[in-house]
């Protein structure tokens, strides 16, 4: 039975964010919290694997109490279990602290085969956690995969790496980072929603961890945000191109080249 864990994060919906000018923080009132878009692809990937190999999918998130609603959404989508890693002391964790907490959590879980993540979060968009968790748990991370087979304790997958397309094998447990291109997340069914309200969510707090000493999101995170600001609104140049049609075309080509858009190689006709 394959034990699959999908890491998800609840993020503020990024449209129309407002900054409090005095404190420099984001105004959270009226902003809807949603599951990070990439994470839906990770969930879909996990659910697909379960449908293929059997097993169990657990959604796991680290976040404030309101992140519960994100886990309920995962349950509605069809995951079997949900774990909420939540403690005031985890607040303000940067990626390193987050990784350390997750390492503690998985050290306690012990029995895991696959940990699946999305590529980036839309809030801090660091994309670092999958790599760092791979270091922390000392398990391989496979990125940019587009097919995957599990045979006994070996996972074989086809992935892009550098400028190569490779077939690789690794022993379970393995971390997988899923991109946006390889699946279309399913829609949540009404029955799923109904059942999700009744499901239980497992809570994990600071006291549950084996060796919690290194954990303190606020005090021990190596990076600290000192200021947030709204970037200046981009003013468009509105420059009118002059000249004949061919001169305008020429100018457009120059602008395109300035954005590294060049003729691409499409076969022998160029030889």
């Amino acid at each position: 039975m394959v034990k699959i864990f999908v890491l998800i994060k609840q993020v503020p919906d990024t449209h129309n964010l407002q900054i409090n000018r005095a404190s420099g923080t984001i105004i959270r009132e009226g902003i809807e919290n949603v599951i990070n878009q990439d994470d839906f692809h990770a969930l879909e990937f996990g659910l697909n694997l379960k449908e293929k190999y059997g097993g169990e999918v657990t959604a796991l998130t680290m976040g404030p109490p309101q992140a519960e609603s994100a886990l309920r959404e995962c349950l509605a989508m069809g995951v079997d279990k949900a774990i909420h890693v939540c403690d005031p002391i985890f607040a303000y964790s940067d990626t390193l602290q987050t990784t350390l907490v997750l390492k503690e959590v998985f050290d306690k879980i012990k029995d895991y085969d696959l940990i699946i993540t999305g590529t980036k979060t839309s809030d801090s968009s660091t994309g670092q956690v999958p790599y760092q968790l791979s270091e922390a748990l000392d398990i391989p991370l496979l990125t940019d995969i587009f097919s995957l087979d599990i045979k006994k304790n070996i996972v074989a997958c086809h992935r892009n790496f550098g400028h190569e397309s490779q077939n690789v094998e690794a022993e379970l447990p393995v971390l997988l980072r899923v991109g946006r291109h390889y699946n279309e997340p399913r829609h949540i069914s009404l029955l799923g929603i109904k059942n999700a309200f009744e499901a239980e969510i497992e809570m994990t707090d600071h006291a549950c961890l084996n060796s919690p000493d290194c954990i303190d999101g606020n005090m021990k995170s190596p990076t600290r945000v000192t200021k947030t600001e709204k970037p200046e609104e981009m003013k468009r140049k509105k420059e009118f191109l002059k000249g004949s049609t061919s001169e305008k075309v020429q100018k457009l080509i120059e602008i395109m080249q300035g954005h590294s858009i060049e003729k691409i190689w499409i076969g022998k006709q160029h030889l």
Binding site: E32, V34, E73, A76, R186, H187, I188, S189, L190, L191, I193, K194
Partner: protein, 371 residues
């Protein structure tokens, strides 16, 4: 709940909404997608494959579907509330087992038909006649303006009946498309709700077995009236969804449209319209949810359901009209969906009882002491 259906609607229904409106075609592909979210069996029990939700959740679902595609909202609400619901409520166990699983999965579409050329608001004036003949009733007559008419596999059909012992009355029959003598008329060319295929139906000596009588044979009128009480909540939710869409478009547009060097939302002539729309929509929403709440708590809701349908369809018509006005000439063009809302919404004041009939029901209820 709302956000899930909204997401589904925006991703799956939004692309097809203008197409099915333009082509006046029902989309079976969309029906399959709707099936994945249990939209065909919203309130049916899980054992038949439904989602077993309460009526407020039902209203929200219809509202969100209609916000994006009113035609689809119509197909879904009619299927659920006046097709599947009466079968579940009054059907025998055999009937339920025969029909409900296919209805809940959307493999089969259903609906309800009462209206005839000579019987619209005057529901008791129907002329379709089912005459007892051995184990069957032989049905003759015709129905018009049948929502889902072209796509339904089974319909709840209101008819008069005449038994061999001379007993007469009104009954509700489950008439199936495959029965001999069942003929679907041409699709109506409509102002709005064009994605829902509305047709006439002709019954030519259709033999309907007695096991297809819904409920007690003489309960037809009662079943119809109680079914429509439920159906009206769905139509009100649908009107609400259309109003919401029109309103959101008006807000967005007025903030971006610059005239006299200002967004037009800075002019009170426009912003007051928005304020009125918002208030009306909220008031209608509360009326819809109240009717749904009363239904779930098994209290009387005939008056409340008539009220919510009357009010929601009225303010929705007004909201689409004002939203179009806010858009000016752009609103009149097919590039934007606002003109579609304007066309789609009108019928919510007509079907499942016109606004005038709603007022009649409300008044009757009041004067009977239900103040």
């Amino acid at each position: 709940m709302r956000s899930s259906v909204r997401k589904f609607s925006e991703e799956v229904l939004a692309p097809v909404a203008p197409i099915i409106d333009r082509d006046a075609e029902f989309s079976w592909d969309t029906a399959k997608e709707l099936s994945k979210i249990n939209a065909w069996g919203i309130q049916l029990p899980e054992k038949y494959g439904g989602a077993d939700l309460d009526s407020i959740s039902y209203s929200i679902t219809i509202e969100e579907i209609s916000r994006i595609c009113a035609s689809t909202g119509l197909t879904v609400t009619v299927h659920n509330s006046v097709g599947a619901y009466p079968i579940y409520k009054w059907g025998s166990e055999e009937q339920k087992e025969k029909f409900l699983p296919d209805l809940a999965s959307g493999n089969k579409i259903t609906g309800f038909t009462w209206t005839e050329p000579n019987a619209g608001s005057d529901a008791s004036g129907i002329e379709c006649l089912a005459v007892e003949d051995g184990d069957d009733f032989v049905l003759n007559g015709s129905k018009i303006f049948v929502t889902n008419g072209a796509i339904a596999s089974v319909l709840v059909v209101g008819t008069r009946f005449k038994k061999e012992n001379g007993e007469e009355g009104m009954t509700a029959l489950l008439v199936e498309k495959d029965m001999e003598g069942y003929e679907i008329g041409t699709k109506e060319d409509k102002l709005g709700m064009r994605g829902n295929p509305t047709t006439s139906l002709y019954f030519n000596n259709v033999r309907v077995p007695k096991e297809n009588v819904l409920g007690k044979i003489s309960d037809g009128f009662k079943i119809a009236m109680q079914t429509l009480d439920v159906g009206r909540i769905g139509i009100a939710a649908q009107a609400l969804g259309i109003a919401q869409a029109a309103y959101e478009h008006a807000v967005e547009y007025s903030k971006g449209r610059i005239q006299f060097r200002k967004p037009i939302s800075n002019f009170q002539g426009v912003s007051f319209k928005l304020a009125e729309m918002a208030t009306n929509i909220d008031a209608a929403r509360l009326l819809v949810y109240r009717a749904a709440y009363l239904k779930d708590n098994r209290e009387r809701f005939t008056k409340e359901s008539a009220m919510c349908k009357y009010y929601a369809s009225k303010i929705a018509r007004k909201a689409t009209q004002e939203a179009l006005q806010v858009h000016g000439g752009y609103g009149y063009m097919k590039d934007l969906p606002v003109e579609r809302y304007y066309r789609d919404v009108k019928v919510t004041e007509i079907y499942e009882g016109t606004s005038e009939i709603m007022k009649l029901i409300i008044a009757q209820q009041i004067l009977r002491g239900n103040i």
